[in-house]
Amino acid sequence: MITNAIIILLLPLAAFTIQIFIGKRLPKQGAWLPTGAMFAAFLFAVPIFFQSLSAYDPNFKIQASWEWINFGPVVVSFGIHIDNLTSVMLIVVTLISALIHLYSIGYMHGDPRYSRYFAYLALFSFSMLGLVLVDNFLGIYVFWELVGLCSYLLIGFWFEKDSAANAGKKAFITNRIGDICMFVGILILFTTLGVFKFEDVFRGVADGKLAGGLLTATGLLLFGGAIGKSAQFPLHVWLPDAMEGPTPVSALIHAATMVAAGVYLVGRIFVFFTAEALLFIAYIGTITAFMAATIAIVQTDIKRVLAYSTISQLGYMMVGLGTGGYTAGLFHLTTHAFFKALLFLGSGSVIHAVHTQDMTEMGGLKKKMPITFWTFLIATLAISGVPPLSGFWSKDAILASTLEFGMLHPSHFIIPVIMFLSAGITAFYMFRLVYLTFFGEARDHHKYEHAHESPKVMTIPLTVLAVFSVGTIWWGWYEHLVAKPDLAAYATVAAAVEPAHEAGHEVAHSAHNLALILSILIAGLGILISTATYYWKKISAEAWGSRLRPVYNLLWNKYYFDEMYSATAIAGTLLLSRVSGWFDLRIIDGVVNGVARWTAKLSFAGGWHDLRIVDGLVNWVGRTIQFFGAQLRELQTGRVQSYILMALFVVVVISIIQLL
């Protein structure tokens, strides 16, 4: 199985290498090569998945590790770690990636950098798979950065557009901020424990070598990486802009896989987090989920709505993990991957047809694009949490977990309240999207006329994803296989840590039942209001918008995060940089100019300005030396008697000093 894993990893890498160098010269620009490689990778992933299924063991794992860097006293290994979570992720990543490759063949047709696109996509697939497979912190950081790179390259793929170029840069730099936190976290844990490998680290933590506040801090620093990558508050600003990339890219990277890496990371190192850290994660998730959902209500760009929806859903996953719903969070990751990819591809299909992303210019596309519509609808239902689609199960699990958390810790009851509210909002804006796009009258007839159903190469992936969106409902075995890990299990020293506290069984049970009912009700309510507003037109969106103008503006402007950041952090850095540059040129370099000019003014030696300009030997020391030179030079009057006088003067002074 290790061989399979290696092959899975190498296939896209090989595809990338070939594609980047000779892709353009291959028949059909080589698009089939990475696509084929990804399908092959999927086929290699399937046996791994089935092995883990057939083992049906929460502790199932396959590992292999090779020495990578040997410093002598410190050896850093690189290895593969496959457990149930990994095997699920492998399936998700390879499948969605393969489908999106396929879809892209149609979507990107005719692009001038067609072959380059596939190369990047393959590189991304490689990096993402590496991220999933790798067994240590350093490795995850490496792939973490690489997926970031691919994201940068693909967001800015149409770099002729300034907005695209900006978005790519913004994504990378914002992510880097998170990455530094993560890097510092790694610094701390490596310095404290001396190892990178997950299991070794957990063992160290379990043995109490890293504990208390430092452990919390380290956990939060690592979570900082996840905040960046998974676009959590307050580093979420890059993701909406990332929609400048081609839509399949948004689907793959900025919806299904890469952005979920943060969630995956939190899941992967779940035992590392202390209760305080988890609480922090839960709050961050809560804020993110609510904030993004509210922004999504008012957006009119179809992809931006989906982007905010993604952020919101990632918030859900974080909350799930943070409130102890480990399985719930990760299950939502899986289901979300399918239906969100589907949503994006569907929107891509629409955009492909009408050449606009603005929903106000769409409408009534249901008839023109039936496959797209029906698959899109399935995904919308899934994300809204309508049973029995996949999204229902996962979201319900999260909500249940928050509710349970709230019941156990009443002081944090705000979390479930907001999460349920957000669930309703989710349903609302998703249906708003569907109505505006597919129902009603066509608002731009010209575009409507030209609209057509997408080619097969695009609709087949839609269909496949729709199937998965419906069908990924095996909550039961997921709960068994991807079970919440227990730190104590890693302990090599007995009872170094207290066993994780178990929630009361009754609480859990009642919370789950309550959540089930509530979530269905709220989803329904959301859909109802949405329908009333955008389908039946019983409620006027405009009226409410103007009635709540300040709120509307706040949401329309995305809580002014971008403005705030550019006014503070970005402007601050640029200012600091300009100040440094100025400082360097004017002050350090020239203790030069200012002081030299000042010195020059002092100097009354003739020709000194000329010399300064002619020779231009320039630094303050030089100037000062010249100044003294000029002064001393005045002694050389040309009169022999003054020379004698001066010499004698010195002699007398020396003698008198001696005399005294």
Binding site: G638, R639, Q641, I644, L648
Partner: protein, 103 residues
């Protein structure tokens, strides 16, 4: 016996030396400056001869003085030649005018 001792001569020599210096430093006329130099040499010579009488038992100091006088003559001759030459160029032997080489 006389009360005039070594220090008297030395003091005289010191005064002469100082006057010679003063002359060298202050006179504009190059020839006068050369005269001042002779004064300095004379002062030194007084020293030599005084020491030869009071300190040394031999006449080394006097020998030295003779050599000083002779070399002074040589130097004065050359210096004067140079002064005359400068006069050819400058039509003046004022030292303060001979300052084209400076700084």
């Amino acid at each position: 016996m006389s009360s005039i001792g070594l220090t008297h001569y030395l003091a005289l020599s010191a005064v002469l030396f100082s006057l010679g210096l003063l002359c060298v430093i202050t006179k504009k006329n190059a020839v006068t400056v050369l005269m001042g130099i002779e004064l300095i040499l004379n002062a030194a010579n007084i020293n030599f001869i005084a020491f030869a009488r009071f300190v040394d038992t031999d006449l080394d100091g006097q020998v030295f003085a003779v050599f000083v006088i002779v070399t002074a003559a040589a130097a004065a001759a050359v210096a004067l030649a140079i002064v005359l030459n400068l006069y050819e160029r400058l039509k003046s032997i004022n030292l303060d005018e001979a300052d084209s080489l400076a700084r």
